[in-house]
């Protein structure tokens, strides 16, 4: 894929993370360049999800440094990561179940909406203008993701595949610089995967987002990604462009070979 620049958006250096005795990540380094789709693959339990959690501040690694947009950061909380342009979807969808599709996506705009309690309570003037302005952005995302028909449905009642789409919509509504996607196509059929792939590519090409993508479907990974990081038992075993990774004997042994 094209579109990546040489600018390093996120640099992870020698990160180690453990939970009590369990080592989830051991001394992993890699970087993400602005505008690329960066795949992270590896068998279950390899530490992929933990790595995303480290990036957006849910977990704090015991060792290592993380530099985002040129700033090496100290401990960061998830809501601060959001403020700095990091958005995220979860392996097991984490939507607001009691709210409609539209409200879920509108909630993604919360940080960009500024009107306080006073105007909100009146719902006129500036608050209404702001609500309309952001509603327009969300409607555009709803069109893009082809979920107009479920706009008013509480998301708890939606099938899994659509929930994944709504969750992507909520992340896109944040207009993040870095979009972290944890197995966005798990449990989907071929057609749904193709749709989702298209959305991810367009997020990159048209919306200028940088994407970190965890995915088990090797075909999808090879098609979409610019570079692939391979983890196994919390260690980095390969990191290169898809064609090189695909041919790496260590990767074939650890992952491709065993028939995922």
């Amino acid at each position: 894929m094209t579109g990546a620049s040489d600018e390093i958006l996120l640099d992870v250096e020698n990160v180690s993370l453990s939970f009590g005795g369990v080592r989830a990540i051991t001394d992993v380094s890699f970087d993400i360049r602005r505008g690329e789709i960066r795949a992270i693959i590896g068998p279950n339990g390899a530490g992929k999800t933990s790595m995303l959690n480290v990036i957006n501040g849910f977990y704090h690694p015991q060792e290592g440094r993380i530099t985002y947009r040129g700033r090496t950061r100290a401990r960061m909380k998830p809501h601060e990561a959001a403020r700095q342009g990091v958005a995220r979807t979860f392996q097991n969808v984490a939507l607001f179940k009691g709210m409609t599709t539209l409200d879920n996506i509108m909630t993604g705009r919360s940080l960009r909406m500024k009107r306080g309690l006073f105007w909100q309570a009146l719902r006129h003037g500036p608050a209404l203008a702001e609500e309309i302005e952001h509603r327009r952005v969300c409607e555009e995302i709803i069109d893009f993701l082809e979920i107009e028909h479920i706009r008013r449905t509480p998301v708890g009642a939606l099938p899994y595949g659509l929930q994944k789409r709504v969750e992507l919509g909520r992340a896109l509504a944040m207009e993040p610089e870095l979009l972290l996607l944890d197995e966005p196509m798990a449990g989907m059929n071929l057609e749904e995967k193709e749709d989702m792939s298209r959305f991810i590519v367009e997020a990159k090409l048209q919306r200028g987002m940088t994407v970190a993508l965890i995915e088990h479907d090797i075909g999808v990974v090879m098609d979409l990604s610019d570079r692939v990081l391979v983890l196994e038992y919390g260690r980095r075993i390969a990191d290169d462009v898809p064609d090189v990774v695909k041919a790496d004997p260590k990767v074939i042994d650890a992952y491709l070979g065993v028939g995922h």
Binding site: P78, H79, G98, M106, S110, E131
Partner: protein, 358 residues
Amino acid sequence: MFYREAGQYKTTYAADMAIFPIRQDRWGLALILFVAFVVIPTFGGPFLLNTMMIPFLVLSLAAIGLNLLTGYTGLLSLGTGAFMGVGAYACYKLATWFPQVNILVWIVASGFVSAAVGVLFGLPSLRIKGFYLAVATLAAQFFLQWGFARAPWLVNYNDSGAIEVPRATLFGVPVTGPSATPVTRYLVVLTLVSIMAWLASNIVHGRIGRIWMAVRDMDIAAQLIGIRLLNAKLLAFAVSSFTVGVAGALMVFLWLGAAEPEAFNINLSFEILFIIIIGGLGSIVGAFFGATIMHLMPIALRALPAMIGLPIEAARVEQLTFMITGILIIVVLIAEPHGLARLWQTAKQKLRVWPFPY
């Protein structure tokens, strides 16, 4: 049936975002407001106003307040009664310190005192959740009620130990105290409750309401989109306690006329909680439905045997009313755990497409 949206195309987001997007709903609301503001005060007697409507409105407002916290933000509180007490005592102190200031100003100002106390007791909510938070609010209930009884300063060292509502006027018309007519008090309560219900409805339909619901439904994901949990929860405590505090001030100043610390006990907390459970968690209109079942229905049940000429003693009627109310609550909860508000939504949805089921 004419409950249809056919032909009502929404050409702007503003129209689509209206809280009552369907024309028939707006007519229905206009009709209810007309009955409430014109028909009831014109034809209603003191029983309807004093015993039925004023308490109904006050309880509905308190339920809206609790619903903001429990129904929308997912933070269970068992201290509603005590927070109503904070509003009532604050209003009493303010009104007796500065009797020259209009009483309506103090009723609203008492909401701010209650909001401040609510935020104080809401502080632990970042660390403790669910059952344990409910226990903490229960502690607040008993602590505050104990405080009301132990601080004679709160009632200006009255011999009775109770709040004795002073006389106050609005444009020369008495609105509180013994000389205020039921119609005047009813209209004041109705106006305040309508305005506050409207404001609450606006809040829950905008950014802040969405943030509260996000915290309720999935707090991890809420943080991830940039929401600070503590801020969101404390704001919910503040706005909720404000509303509950105003309801408390209204309860004493425009309904009871006097109140001892016992008036704000745990039973009141539970009554408000039942109202929102029956009416529907996370629904403003549900508060009114719930108050109808919890307050108006028992009155109707009590009046029923006499109306149809059944010779039953008053005590027996009282027991029966309790039983029937209890059974109804259980039936409602089994039939529709989301309360009457959800039943109402479903019924409207069915009407929209009637007679075609899909």
